[in-house]
């Protein structure tokens, strides 16, 4: 039987045993629901606020509806006008919360009329309605005085509005995607890397490792374990990304920038590399421990490196994606998995840089497997206390 089949069997066992566990399924479903909700709930809330209903009592002056709507638009507000035949019907509607405010203005604009609220005045609505009525009344007065309506309209035209440093198209979305990418990779690497760590320690604790290693080589066992759990990690990541993209496109609140698909590819690539790198290191440290508490102590250095890489990514790289720190971090294998996809999402990395970074990371993973495989075989049957890395290396020596 080939070693490849042996590795495949180990990986398949991990996928089936963990993939159908209630814990895994529940956590994927739960997180997916949270992701979708985080897109849809804000959209629903914003949607509710979008159109403020304002009641107008007939007979109302000509053009009042247009005036209110146009003024609201200038203030980036959306209003819907509902007309009522008399004041009594309007007041009932206001009391029944069918409208937010009720406008009562005489049709001939002889006075500024009344603006009624239910409990307290809304300053925005008050501003919109007040300036609409004032505008109509001024126009009426000036019209009677014979002022040219065209000149009047011209005089009332708003100024040209312009930002002197407009953000690039989709820059905000790019920034958001870069952040989400870093978080997904950090969380994925942590949760699935620690699954590998736990799995290794559990095999030692249940002593099954001796039976397994009587047929499977230690390096193959480690590799199969990392692969199998990694498949689950990719499945979970895929579900999250697809759920997020679908939710984002459904709500249409969020315009996906053109770099999205490239960022998704980088996310999957760097999740795979980052996970493999960190989980192999964690798996080897797990083999040195014989109890869970020892394993979590042993994993501290790896945890620190991962956290440090994340902070470099969100502080140094996000603010200056092409800066010196960002470039250096691109070529350090432990920070690359968070830094590179972030720079890619921001469109601030060249394909050559990505290729070199991938090569360095893959080489590091290979070294980890070779060193880790030997340490693993030296430590896997050690069941008392925590073994030192050097002793494990020696004990497996030729």
């Amino acid at each position: 039987m080939s070693r490849a089949r042996s590795i495949w069997l180990v990986a398949r066992r991990e996928v089936f045993e963990r993939g159908r566990s209630r814990g895994f399924i529940f956590s994927v479903l739960f997180t997916t629901v949270i992701i979708i909700a985080s897109f849809i709930i804000p959209a629903l809330i914003i949607g509710d606020q979008a159109a403020t209903r304002i009641g107008v009592v007939e007979p109302a002056p000509d053009g009042i509806e247009t005036a209110i709507t146009a003024t609201a638009e200038l203030l980036d507000q959306e209003v819907e006008i509902v007309t009522y035949p008399d004041r009594e019907a309007g007041a009932t509607a206001l009391a029944d919360e069918q409208v937010e405010a009720l406008v009562v203005v005489p049709g001939n604009l002889s006075n500024a009329g009344e603006l009624l609220f239910r409990e307290e005045a809304d300053p925005t609505i008050q501003g919109i309605v007040s300036s609409a009525i004032a505008g109509l009344r001024v126009n009426a007065v000036l019209g009677e005085a014979g002022v040219d309506p065209t000149a009047l309209a011209g005089a009332q035209a708003p100024p040209t509005v312009r930002a002197i440093e407009p953000p690039e198209e989709g820059a905000e979305a790019q920034f958001l995607i870069a952040n989400i990418t870093a978080v997904l990779i950090l969380v994925g690497v942590f949760s699935f890397g620690f699954t590998v760590l736990t799995g290794v320690v559990e095999e030692k604790q249940s002593r099954v490792v001796e039976v397994v290693l009587s047929t499977v080589l230690p390096r193959d066992l480690l590799m199969g374990k990392v692969l199998g759990i990694g498949v689950l990690g990719l499945v979970q990541l895929g579900v999250f990304v697809i759920a997020g993209l679908i939710a984002a496109s459904l709500t249409q609140e969020f315009q996906l920038p053109p770099t999205t698909s490239g960022a998704a590819v980088q996310l999957v690539l760097w999740f795979s590399l980052g996970y493999t790198l960190y989980s192999t290191a964690l798996g080897v440290l797990g083999a040195l421990a014989s109890r869970m508490e020892e394993a979590s102590n042993a994993s501290t250095p790896v945890t620190m490196v991962a956290m440090a890489s994340y902070f470099v990514a969100i502080f140094a790289v996000l603010s200056d994606p092409s800066g010196v720190v960002a470039v250096i971090a691109t070529f350090v294998p432990f920070s690359a998995p968070m830094v590179v996809p972030m720079r890619a999402a921001l469109g601030a990395i060249t394909p050559v840089e990505i290729a070199v970074s991938v090569a360095i990371t893959v080489a590091t993973i290979w070294v980890l497997f070779v060193v880790g495989g030997r340490v693993y075989s030296g430590a896997a049957l050690q069941t008392a206390g925590r073994m030192r890395l050097r002793d494990a290396w020696r004990s497996a020596g030729e």
Binding site: M1, R13, R207, V211, L381, T383, S395
Partner: protein, 306 residues
């Protein structure tokens, strides 16, 4: 044939194996005996590549054992353990496949063993849901599911109830009858005497005795002689250098004698002394051979006698 050739292994300053050499033949049940820490588990781990000997080698069918050869071996470690939350049927199938069986063949073999052990209805149970005794049965089935040519069992009888012991004995005998070589370690010497044909005794990392039990007994210089002569006090035996009195009450005596003791002379002396009721001459028990073999300083068990 399994050949253990001059194995040596040190853990730091502790010598686990110091030139151990022995063989285990197909179809024979070999009891692997020795005090705690004598090197039994280390030897077994060397057979499975779980420990790397500093010196010496393990051969099977005349060739050094490698990963592919080991797929035809079955192992039950002293520290029992399987995947607690994995279903029993899938667990057996998994280990069958890891030994090279196809998925279907491994499923069928696993089911076969579950039926054989009376656990067919537990195929879908998680291992941890089974009783301790049944978990032990599954552990045995794990070592057997791929029909190994060599079965290595480290303390297979420890922690078994009489029923479990009976099952284990039956399975081991049946496998040996099918031509499988069986090597198992145990501290239960009476059981070993009952089950095994051959024994290998290890002490301080060296093999101090090995061979068929009958031959070892025959080669031993000790014999037991139980004599009962009514109406005497036993003084008739006198004082002989080749006779040691172990127990003495009235006319009954338990003696430990040299195998060259003149039996006729003793028999005549007994008859002369009084009415002879019992005169039984027996080889030593395995436990005595064991104690003798592992005693310090290491004796040269068989060569010790001229």
């Amino acid at each position: 044939m399994l050949e253990i050739i001059d194995l040596a292994k040190r853990y730091g300053n502790v010598v686990a194996l110091d030139g151990a050499t022995f063989t285990a033949r197909p179809g024979r049940i070999v009891g692997f005996l020795g005090p705690n820490g004598a090197g039994k588990t280390t030897t077994m781990r060397c057979i499975f590549g779980l420990a790397r000997p500093d010196h010496g080698e393990v051969r099977w069918a005349g060739r050094p054992v490698d990963r592919v050869t080991r797929l035809r071996f079955g192992y039950m470690p002293e520290q029992r353990g399987l995947y607690p939350r994995m279903r029993v049927g899938e667990q057996l199938s998994y280990f069958g496949q890891q030994h090279g069986l196809s998925g279907k063949a491994a499923d069928a073999a696993g089911r076969g063993w579950l039926e054989r052990l009376g656990l067919a209805d537990r195929e879908k149970s998680k291992l941890e849901e089974l009783s301790h005794g049944n978990q032990q049965r599954i552990q045995l089935a794990t070592a057997l599911v791929h029909e190994p040519e060599l079965l290595v069992l480290d303390e297979p009888f420890s922690g078994l109830d009489p029923l479990g012991t009976a099952t284990m004995t039956e399975v081991v005998r049946e496998r040996a009858a099918a031509g499988v070589g069986v090597l198992f370690s145990s501290h239960q010497l009476d059981l070993v005497e009952d089950v095994c044909e051959d024994v290998v005794i290890i002490a301080r990392g060296r093999i101090v005795a090995s061979g068929p039990i009958d031959e070892l007994k025959a080669a031993s210089g000790r014999r037991h002689l139980d004599i009962e002569v009514a109406g005497t006090d036993g003084a008739w035996i006198g004082s002989r250098p080749d006779v040691q009195v172990l127990e003495h009450s009235g006319g009954r005596m338990k003696l430990l004698v040299d195998d060259r003791v003149p039996l006729d002379e003793l028999l005549t002396a007994a008859r002369t002394a009084g009415e002879l009721r019992q005169f039984s001459y027996q080889p030593p028990r395995l436990s005595e051979l064991f104690m003798e073999a592992v005693a310090e300083p290491a004796p040269e068990p068989e060569e010790a006698r001229p």
